[in-house]
């Protein structure tokens, strides 16, 4: 929302030397955020009005728009000048820069030659005099200026303050200059000048007929105020009005359109003018399903019930609160008008505007829930301004008002203790009254409570409870004036969020103990990347409005994202250790689920390092589960999932903790590495993905500690040769059947495959620890144990490796 400071000065007497930037900063701190403050500095000197007396097109070269224009510049003198401005018709009055005049945008105006003909002075285009939207168009003047009459330079210069629209969505009163002026008046402690309007009684001449107004649904149309007038010939709006509209980003169009726009930007109340020849009575009703309607912008639209229409004699003439219709638009032939000043339900307007993609200045305001009293005030203002523009203006109806259910005034009861609680100090009644009165709130007090009367322009949802009033007081005191103090609080113990704690400690563990680097990726798949990996995403939770094409499926696994990160980093680092912690989503039969996963990837240059990387990932996960839960994680070979190509066809393991599935671990097959990126064919990549959701319930066991043995322990190592096809877990299960009174513990030492043993065998070395609590062991004890253990091994067909 752009605010013209000249406009504000109509309503508040501001000091001439006021710093607009300082004012904007105070406005930001008190009312709403200012995005920008800029100066409009035309520096006009010597501009006059001039009347077009002849227009001759100059043909096609060098610019087909070029015309030779004869202008009457006063005292019967004429000049000839070149112009490309459209709509230069004989009789129109333009802003003219004669030789010797100047504006900042163009410098000094001197005699010149355009395409071989001399051109005296310049018809000024809008952008040269601060009306950006009228680019290369002339600004036309009404008969307020006669040819040759000087145009006062001070009209052109202004300051424009841009208020962030998002910061005033809750403030319908700030969508017009008068509401902004009210805030500024309160900020600078100056009186707000009463809104200049004609007296209501002047509009209530009972001798004039009433405009018939019928409202079908009072919830959708809260109020509809109409008035008929005649004597509004087609002519430009006064220059000051056109310039102000221009400064706040509007393009001047015609006197009548500019006037209704001006009132919308002045009071915040949208207005519409119908040609009375087409619209002489008003019915506000719902559209018919499938109804077709051509709006002002020339587009034919298909409507449904739920779109609110303005109709006249059963014929639709406007989309209520959004846009007028093509048919009933005011034209040069119009002699008599029906003015609409109405109040519509915000949700209805928003729905229609949103559905049709038609967010107009009017709909943007109705969405905020406008003050219903402004319908009448808007018409009073219209007549006030129109009288100075149209001397022959005449009312042809009396003010007609459809207001089925007027809302009672809003009052709020406020406990002064709650005010001091929120603000941190006592606010005496007088102070509160002094703060609230300038913005229209009335305050009366009883023994314990204040009663606050909310002004109608703040009473449409914005201010309805005590906290709203507290806010008004707080912001007017100024948040910067509130002294920071730490609160006095009650101490209590909170049950921890175990999953969050587990997540953070896992992340800390893998990044510190194992040197992983954390990355974060998007929670949706990239369909193109999945296609490249030949991965089938399977049933996914889907976005209705994805951020981009192919970004509609929420991830079920972190792997595609992590593999993308490997690909991105491959040129920059010879080895990568990536960890990601994030949500994954699963489609459910009854309800879709969200889970927290931890993904680990180790990758490095060198295609033969797969086993090493796999072992490192495995060691990291194993050590983590022990650290975290004092529990082991079990690994079992598993069939790789067809739809997840990052699972190696025969090198994928399923992890379980306490028998419950905990995740998967694998290495990336060379064919997939090559698909990811040809350079990765020469890399090795291993990964693990753990589902943390569910593990947070695992109790962390207290790890028992061992006492120092009274007598020395004896360690005996056994290297067992087994076929490579025999699983370690199977060997261990068999070893466990061996019982011996001296055996304290067996540890795994190492596995070996290589030249020292037969090719089809693997050597597994175990260390047995022997001891007796009451004596030192002898050689005979060790020998007896060795013999017994070897017999046990032989019974399973395991050989011993002799070194």
């Amino acid at each position: 929302m752009l605010i013209s400071l000249n406009w504000i000065r109509d309503f508040v007497e501001l000091p001439p030397d006021l710093d607009p930037r300082a004012l904007a900063e105070r406005f930001t701190r008190t009312t709403a955020e200012v995005d920008d403050v800029r100066r409009i500095e035309v520096r006009a000197c010597g501009l006059i009005a001039a009347r077009v007396t002849k227009v001759a097109p100059r043909g096609s070269a060098p610019d087909p728009r070029l015309q030779q224009v004869t202008l009457e510049v006063g005292l019967g003198k004429t000049v000839e000048t070149a112009s490309i401005a459209p709509d230069l018709r004989v009789g129109r009055i333009v802003v003219y820069a004669p030789i010797g005049s100047s504006v900042a945008a163009l410098g000094d105006i001197v005699a010149t030659t355009v395409a071989g003909r001399s051109s005296i002075g310049l018809i000024l285009p809008g952008e040269a005099i601060g009306v950006e939207k009228a680019f290369q168009e002339a600004i036309f003047l009404s008969d307020e200026f006669q040819p040759g009459q000087p145009i006062p330079a001070e009209l052109f210069d202004d300051w424009v303050i841009e208020v962030d629209n998002k910061s005033i969505t809750n403030r319908p009163d700030l969508w017009g200059h008068y509401g902004i002026a009210r805030e500024i008046a309160a900020i600078v402690h100056r009186p707000l000048i009463p809104y200049p309007v004609v007296a209501i009684n002047e509009l209530r001449d009972t001798k004039l007929p009433e405009v018939p107004i019928k409202i079908t649904d009072p919830r959708a149309c809260r109020r509809y105020t109409g008035l008929m007038v005649e004597g509004v010939p087609t002519q430009p709006a006064p220059l000051w009005m056109q310039l102000r509209l221009g400064h706040v980003g509007q393009r001047p169009i015609s006197g009548l359109v500019d006037l209704t726009n001006y009132i919308m930007l002045d009071l915040g109340q949208p207005m519409h003018a119908f040609d009375e020849a087409m619209v002489d009575r008003i019915e506000v009703d719902w559209a018919k399903d499938g109804e077709r309607f051509k709006t002002l912008d020339g587009v034919e639209r298909t409507l449904t019930r739920g779109d609110l229409m303005i109709q006249s004699r059963g014929k639709s003439v406007a989309l209520a609160g959004v846009m007028g219709g093509m048919q009933s638009e005011v034209s040069e032939a119009t002699t008599s008008l029906l003015l609409e000043s109405a109040n519509f339900d915000p949700a209805t307007v928003r729905k229609t505007a949103h559905k049709l993609g038609l967010r107009s200045e009017a709909s943007a305001r109705f969405e905020k829930s406008l003050d219903p009293t402004h319908t009448v005030l808007g018409i009073q203002r219209f007549i006030h301004l129109a009288r100075s523009m149209y001397p022959r203006l005449k009312l042809t109806s009396r003010l007609s008002d459809g207001f089925p259910s007027p809302c009672p005034p809003v009052t709020v009861s406020v406990n002064p203790l709650h005010v001091s609680r929120t603000i941190g100090r006592d606010v005496p009644l007088d102070e509160a009254r002094r703060l609230l009165q300038p913005i229209g709130f009335e305050l009366t007090a009883s023994d314990t409570h204040w009663t606050v009367g909310v002004p109608s322009f703040r009473a449409t949802g914005d201010c309805s409870i005590e906290a709203d009033i507290v806010e008004e007081i707080a912001r007017l005191i100024g948040y910067d004036a509130i002294a920071p103090t730490m609160p006095r609080v009650s101490v209590r113990s909170f049950a921890p969020n175990s999953l969050h704690e587990l997540e953070q400690s896992a992340l800390r563990y893998f990044t510190t103990a194992h040197g992983f680097n954390e990355v974060q990726g998007y929670i949706w798949y990239d369909a193109a990347w999945l296609r490249r990996l030949a991965a089938d995403p399977g049933p996914c939770v889907e976005l209705a409005n994805p951020a981009a094409e192919g970004a509609h499926q929420l991830r079920r696994t972190l792997l595609p994202g992590l593999l993308d990160a490997v690909t991105k980093n491959r040129f920059h680092f010879p080895a990568l250790s990536l960890v990601e912690l994030g949500s994954v989503f699963e489609k459910g039969d009854r309800q879709d689920g969200e889970f927290r996963n931890l993904g680990l990837v180790l990758a490095q240059r060198g295609k033969r390092d797969e086993d090493e990387l796999y072992a490192r990932v495995k060691a990291a996960v194993t050590a983590w589960t022990w650290q975290q839960f004092t529990r082991s994680v079990s690994f079992s070979a598993t069939t790789s999932a067809q739809d997840r190509p990052w699972e190696h066809p025969h090198r994928t393991a399923a992890m379980t903790i306490d028998g419950a599935p905990a995740g998967r671990m694998s290495v990336i097959d060379v064919s997939l590495r090559r698909t990811m990126d040809e350079h990765l064919a020469a890399w090795s990549i291993a990964w693990a993905e753990v589902r943390l959701t569910g593990l947070e319930g695992l109790e962390t066991l207290t790890e028992p500690l061992a006492a120092i043995p009274s007598f020395p322990l004896v360690e005996l190592d056994f290297s067992i040769l087994v076929p490579k096809t025999t699983r370690y877990a199977e060997v261990v299960a068999n070893l466990r059947h061996f019982e011996h009174p001296l055996l304290k513990m067996v540890r795994f030492v190492t596995s070996y495959e290589g030249e020292a043993i037969p090719r089809d065998r693997r050597s597994l070395t175990f260390r047995t620890v022997l001891g007796e609590d009451s004596r030192t062991l002898t050689d005979a004890d060790s020998d007896a144990f060795r013999n017994g253990f070897e017999r046990h091994l032989k019974s399973y067909g395991y050989g011993l490796r002799v070194s």
């Binding site: 701190r29 955020e33 941190g424 707080a474 974060q520 990726g521």
Partner: protein
């Protein structure tokens, strides 16, 4: 040879070894001497081998003499060995010259957390010290939790403001961490002090300063007589501790349906130092902490009586705070997976020689 002669021979060997020792200056030579005396073919070794020449009834005494002799000689040798070894340590000029304590050790992988995580942890620790509990909520939320429970009914314009990612299952990706306010109130009741870090999602076009996926930390304090001075004090503490400097705050009105009064707390921009830059939209201020007093409807929805309790809430822009703290100018690097802009160079690729 009788016992007396044996004793003399042992004394001789001992005396000679004692004399030879003094002449030996190298560890290797000392080992040679040891072998010449105590080895199987050494002077004492041969004597030991001759024990069989004595009649069986004397062998006990012979053994004793020999063992004692051997122990004494070994003692002399060991003492000299210790002297030589000490000398070798302290006097070796070559070794001292070759020893470079400034040479880097074997580089160990340092690992790193994401910049947002690093700041998140800092904030979590800070609030834990202040007696807050840490909560979390789902990223896939119900409309109820994301909107209704926060005083944002279906017809409220705020639903337009928050450009929401909708899911085909009728749920949403949460647009803020505020739903955790409601969850925490339901879980704990009042009094309450909780923060809730997490990822949020808004349907926005991505550019250098806008992301559709970002982090917030929700904060909520509910107790007797909580007011704005407490909120502002907490904000100041929080930002100063994270930024490791005094911060200047600007407090201004802000509108969020779930707080009343609603405020925006801005921090002076660190990237440009207040002069104006794209990150602070030329204003010198960065919106960092939307906040306010918890709306009575939100307390009620959470089962807390607004007559008895009052509270404040804030939604710290964690991603933006991380950008401020680490001087990250382009928000897009955070979710890109590229390690270069999110890991300090010293943590990756070995020790940095220059510049430090």
């Amino acid at each position: 040879m009788d016992l007396v002669q044996l004793a003399e021979r042992i004394a001789d060997i001992e005396a000679r070894a004692g004399a030879d020792l003094k002449a030996v200056a190298a560890i290797d030579a000392l080992r040679g001497l040891e072998s010449n005396v105590l080895g199987k073919q050494g002077s004492l070794g041969l004597l030991i081998a001759s024990v069989k020449q004595f009649p069986p009834d004397q062998r006990g005494q012979v053994g004793k003499l020999l063992n004692e002799g051997k122990t004494r000689i070994k003692g002399l040798l060991d003492a000299r060995m210790a002297e030589l070894q000490t000398a070798a340590h302290t006097d070796n000029a070559d070794d001292a010259a070759a020893f470079d304590p400034t040479l880097p050790g074997v580089a160990a992988a340092m690992g790193s957390v994401h910049p947002v995580t690093a700041v998140q942890w800092e904030v979590e620790r800070l609030f834990e010290r202040l007696g807050f509990t840490v909560e979390a909520g789902p990223e896939m939320e119900t409309e109820y939790h994301n909107f209704e429970a926060l005083n944002i009914p279906a017809t409220h314009p705020a639903r337009d403001m928050q450009d929401t990612f909708w899911l085909t299952n009728g749920m949403v990706l949460r647009t803020h961490t505020s739903p955790v306010q409601h969850r925490a109130m339901k879980k704990f009741g009042a009094p309450l002090r909780v923060i809730a870090p997490g990822r949020c999602f808004r349907y926005e076009t991505i550019d250098a300063s806008h992301e559709n996926t970002f982090h917030q930390i929700e904060g909520l304090v509910i107790d007797r007589d909580i007011g704005l001075p407490h909120l502002i004090a907490m904000a100041k503490t929080l930002l100063a501790e994270v930024m490791k400097r005094e911060v200047e705050l600007r407090v201004r009105p802000g509108y969020f349906p779930f707080v009343e009064p609603g405020i925006e707390i801005d921090m002076n921009c660190r990237i440009c130092g207040g002069a104006g830059c794209p990150t602070c939209k030329q204003s010198g201020w960065v919106e960092i902490l939307p906040a306010g007093m918890v709306h009575p409807n939100v307390l009620r929805a959470g089962g807390i009586d607004p007559e008895q309790w009052s509270g404040f809430a804030f939604g710290l822009g964690l991603t933006r705070l991380a950008m401020m703290k680490y001087g990250i100018r382009d928000i897009r690097v955070l979710n890109s997976g590229d390690l270069r802009p999110i890991v300090a160079p010293a943590r990756l690729g070995g020790p940095i020689v220059w510049p430090e």
